[in-house]
């Protein structure tokens, strides 16, 4: 059992607060991704769990044991670094065996585990080679093999795929996911790549400016972001945002430019408070319905740019004062400067407070 609990962890570098009272519980065998832009504190938080940069405040426990101020070696963890950190003067075999040797594991057992880890990563043939003349992908495999040979209950990964080229990254993503599911270690995986996070994690913890913004299942984080930042950081293209004016003349409506939109019933009580004020509407590109003929409940917009992406056509349109992206079926025939009509399904719209930037949920 290796549940990781992070309670009020804070880490400062001088006056700069890198991680601000982070709270996160990672269940045994769970795969949690720390996601955020560079400088958001995700790696700092990971390093606090690893023991490479102790937290200034708060508590971190692994399997019920307080490890906040323990050195790395007493935490029973394995880690994969962004730069792989393979020892250049050791053969691959000795690289994988290093941690086991340090732990004085029986040599026969070491041999068994090294071969096993190499087998899982498909690098049996590289075992007697030196890392210097290996490709990035091969080194990456060695780094992962070294971590899994430790058979730790906790596995920490710091952007392990970010140094690989795009195609290889795609391939390794699926392979790693499958491998990690088989191992069943409690895993914290740091990345700035939102697609990697969505595709791999059991849960995603989105971070910004040292604060954890939201922790949830990938589909929830994608569909129901907790705030404007999460919506804008996750998804490609990111969530669209438009300004709207709340008006209550009998029925509650929201005006976007000249267009009047009726919010979902369950949102109305919440939006009442914003009567006469502006709110931000968030909607994903694929959640709008695009039509090439006028409809009563659709808003007329002019197409600025058409990007055929194979699986979809991405349109850039202007609505009110805002530019948004709309995803359409690839067969939807439209040219720049054409008019199209957009329909907003009420349950797909997220309502955001303009000042706090928090998404409003009933």
């Amino acid at each position: 059992m290796a549940e990781i609990r992070i309670e009020n962890a804070t880490k400062r570098f001088g006056d700069f607060v890198a991680v601000d009272k982070a709270n996160l519980v990672i269940a045994d065998k769970e795969f949690v991704v720390l996601l955020g832009p560079s400088g958001c504190g995700k790696t700092t938080l990971l390093r606090a769990v690893a023991g490479l940069g102790m937290a200034d405040e708060g508590r971190i426990t692994i399997g019920g044991r307080d490890v906040t101020y323990l050195p790395p070696r007493e935490r029973k963890i394995a880690m994969v670094f962004q730069s792989y950190a393979i020892f250049p003067h050791m053969k691959v075999r000795d690289n994988i065996a290093f941690g086991l040797k340090m732990a004085s594991v029986d040599p026969r057992e070491i041999d068994k585990r090294v071969n096993n880890a190499a087998g899982l990563m498909h690098i049996e043939k590289l075992l007697d080679r030196y890392p210097s003349n290996m490709s990035g992908g091969q080194r990456q495999r060695v780094a992962v093999a070294r971590a899994i040979a430790m058979q730790s209950e906790v596995l920490l990964m710091d952007e392990p795929l970010s140094n690989l080229d795009a195609l290889l990254r795609l391939e390794m993503r699926a392979e790693l996911k499958q491998l990690l599911a088989g191992i069943g270690a409690t895993t914290i995986y740091v990345t700035h790549d939102q697609i990697e996070a969505l595709s791999m994690g059991d849960r995603i913890a989105v971070m910004k400016d040292g604060l954890i913004q939201q922790v949830d299942h990938p589909t929830v984080v994608y569909d129901l972001p907790s705030n404007l930042f999460v919506g804008s950081f996750i998804g490609n293209p990111p969530m669209n945002f438009m300004r709207g004016q709340v008006q209550q003349n009998g029925a509650l409506k929201v005006k976007i430019g000249d267009f009047e939109l009726e919010p979902a019933e369950r949102m109305k009580p919440l939006l009442k408070k914003y009567d006469g004020q502006q709110v931000i509407l968030g909607i994903r590109a694929e959640n709008m319905e695009t039509l090439n003929h006028p409809v009563a409940d659709g808003v007329k917009v002019q197409v600025r740019v058409v990007e055929p992406l194979g699986s979809q056509n991405l349109l850039t349109v202007k609505i009110g004062e805002d530019i948004i992206k709309v995803s359409t079926h690839p067969t939807f025939n439209v040219a720049p400067n054409n008019d199209v009509w957009l329909r907003f399904p009420a349950d797909k719209i997220r309502w955001i407070d303009r000042d706090s930037e928090q998404v409003l949920y009933p």
Partner: protein, 281 residues
């Protein structure tokens, strides 16, 4: 295209030739002392004359070398006894110092490092009297061990600097990865940084070997005649009345031979090691 290639190549080789002429001239200039030394060393005593010093010897008189070697043998042995421990100990100490200064940010490290480097700039002459006093006090005056100690201490700044700079280029993640894998400070040094710094060891060992071998001042001040290293013995080989220049030159060649051999055989490792820290990111 095909017609254009040969002239280009010719031009390139011409440029190469132009480069080689000054290089060869410079080499010849630098080899003049070596030529005179060997040339005179092979002459008979009767042939040695300032008028004829450029002339080649009538025959090869190897007996000069045997005579010089017989006279210098004890001093040669003293030099070896001096140089090997001096180079080795100062390299090991420099490596440990460099590791601690580069990898273990203890309080005061930023003060100690420049202070240590300051030692490099202390002129030998300025410390001779206190050095002799100190060696007397600790009963190491007159023997080789005292000289070893002096060279070790004088070598520490440069060896520390070399190793610290090299260890500072080792990626941090490598050290952290070793820590995660359970290696302590000493295990990290022994298993990771020490093997990685072999090029630095070559540089530092050659450097210390040469400077201890060529040192005259410390040796002449600190050692008694029985413990003279070769530099001092060579200087004293000349008799007071007649100087046997041929034997003297043969002796000088014997004294210079070890450092020459070290550079001939290890020179490329020396350069490689010097560049290793600078070029490898």
């Amino acid at each position: 295209m095909t017609t254009l290639t040969p002239p280009r190549r010719e031009k390139k080789s011409q440029r190469k030739l132009l480069l080689y002429i000054p290089l060869l001239l410079a080499t010849a200039f630098y080899l003049i002392p070596l030529y005179l030394m060997l040339n005179t060393g092979f002459k008979s005593f009767a042939e040695v004359d300032l008028q004829t010093m450029w002339r080649l010897p009538s025959g090869l008189h190897f007996d000069n070398f045997t005579a010089a070697f017989e006279q210098l043998a004890p001093a040669l042995w003293n030099s070896i006894r001096l140089v090997i421990p001096a180079a080795f100990i100062s390299s090991v100490l420099g490596s440990i110092n460099g590791f601690v200064l580069a990898r273990w940010k203890f309080r005061g490290a930023d003060f100690i490092f420049p202070f240590l480097l300051f030692g490099m700039f202390i002129p030998y002459q300025s410390i001779l009297i206190p050095l002799v006093e100190f060696m007397r006090d600790i009963n190491l005056y007159g023997g080789v061990p005292g000289l070893v100690l002096t060279h070790v201490i004088y070598g520490i700044p440069i060896t520390t600097l070399t190793f610290r700079n090299y260890y500072a280029t080792v990626p941090n993640e490598l050290v952290e990865s070793a820590r995660i894998d359970g290696a302590g400070l000493l295990e990290t040094y022994w298993n990771i940084l020490l093997p990685l710094s072999i090029p630095s060891f070559v540089v530092v060992l050659i450097w210390q070997f040469t400077s201890a071998w060529n040192d005259f001042l410390f040796a002449v001040v600190l050692t008694s005649p029985a413990n003279w290293p070769i530099t001092v013995a060579l200087n004293n080989m000349a008799g007071s009345q007649i100087i046997e220049w041929n034997v003297q030159m043969a002796g000088a060649f014997i004294a210079a031979l070890p450092t020459l051999l070290v550079y001939i055989f290890l020179g490329r490792y020396f350069l490689r090691g010097l560049l290793a820290g600078a070029l490898k990111g």
